[in-house]
Amino acid sequence: MGTGSDMYRQQILDHYKNPRNYGELEDPDFTHVGENPSCGDTIKVDIALADDGETIETVAFTGDGCAISMASASMLSERLRGMTVDELDALDTDDVTEMLGVDISPMRIKCAVLGRQVAQDGAKIHRGELDPDADRTRTED
């Protein structure tokens, strides 16, 4: 068997069917939306920071997409709590696949990392490092 069935282990299916932190925050410090148009995957991430302006206090997301993108966003929403924005910025693709705990087939990596990219780009826009109009978040070619 290839990576397909392995990708849909219990944990992934559980997060897909029962996404954690699904919804919107009333007063987020920043909000960002990303989309992979060819998949139709869309994810919006809301993040509220602690008083230090650095530590992520609460995370919520909404979205529509495949099991990999939704489960990844759900797991990330749990993972991000307590992290600093710098730590969020440092998360790479390996961190995401490690978090998912399964081998992601090469064609599906873009699904797995969309949530992370949305959170990172949202933080960059919040810090004024990214132009929200010029740069649309997407993780596919």
């Binding site: 397909g4 998949c39 995957d41 099991a67 090469p106 599906r108």
Partner: protein, 425 residues
Amino acid sequence: MGVQEQYPFDVEAIRDDFPILERLVGGDPTSPGEDEGDDVDLVYLDNAATSHTPDPVVDAISDYYRSYNSNVHRGIHQLSQEASVAYEEAHDVVADFIGANGREEVIFTKNTTEAMNLVAYAWGLAELGPGDNVVLTQMEHHASLVTWQQIGKKTGAEVRFIEVTDDGRLDMADAEAKIDGDTEMVSAVHVSNTLGTVNPIRELAELVHDHDGLIFADAAQSVPNRPVDVADLDADFLAFSGHKMCGPTGIGALYGRRELLESMGPYLYGGEMIRKVTFEESTWEDLPWKFEAGTPSIAQGIGLAAAIEYLEDVGMERIEEHESLLAEYAYDRLTDLGGVEIYGPPGDERGGLVAFNVDGVHAHDLSSVLNDYGVAIRAGDHCTQPLHDELGVAASVRASFYLYNTVEEVDALVDAVREARDLFA
């Protein structure tokens, strides 16, 4: 049993010509050509994207490179003459295949998309302007949709779309309303690559010809699998791609009525397409070479002719019959499964493909699980994003059949779809 007995030809004998159908899959896809870890039978149902290449076609291409590889139209030496004759005669084979009046009406292009762009630029930029309109269908492939949309922006011509009915057919009342005295071109897909609908090109041709406009038939999904005759369709232009019909990639053909092609200026300039060049002026070669600038895809053109000869040996009517048999069988079995939404008209009225979604399973997840069972299908928007918007879905999966596919392969598809549905339930 039963369905196999209705095969119009010996499918197993056909499969012997396609060694790739024997391979296993399941290993590491980042190491192409290595079979380590491959352990499930390939069930290839992605023929609307690209078809496989039978040995006689591979041999024809290989024979060219091994025996008479040379540039065309310029050498006096024997190899160049042999290559020129084979390449030119490939145009004759295509012309005969689609009922064109000789090689002058057949231009080799890279693919259907390039053929569409050739007409859009060489004819459209010269002929279209504000007040004119180009009429497409809502089920156009991006090859036609994006091309005419952008030519419309350049010229000021309006681009209109004939609506699709709820059951996936072209709304002919809407066609009659949208095609009017200002319509210069109707560009319509013959067989929809998403809905499987077989569109009434001849009726559309009548409508637009009554208004002195032209019609371009995108035949990428029809020429490979059914008899297509440009005179029967009354098409002014028609295009298709070699790689969807047992030929190689990098070759396609544009049919154009001779007087239209003669009236059009070149699309690409350069070598091979000129007759006389000075520092100030150039004159153009005769048809079809006027539209084939630069060294063409010689081996691929010869391969396309070999593919046509292969398909004609089987018989286009019989290929159509076989595809319809599989499409109807797949339509019925997927419908019986439950929780499957199939797009387009009923099973007995469609080309050989079935696009669908399974309740609660994203198309890409479905495709990943099917891949695990060796089933290769397309997942995504199939280059018809606006049509998917109309259908209210971001993506779908599509199984598409060809002459070498079997009832057992459709069964493997249905079994894998059931597994995926249960996994996500």
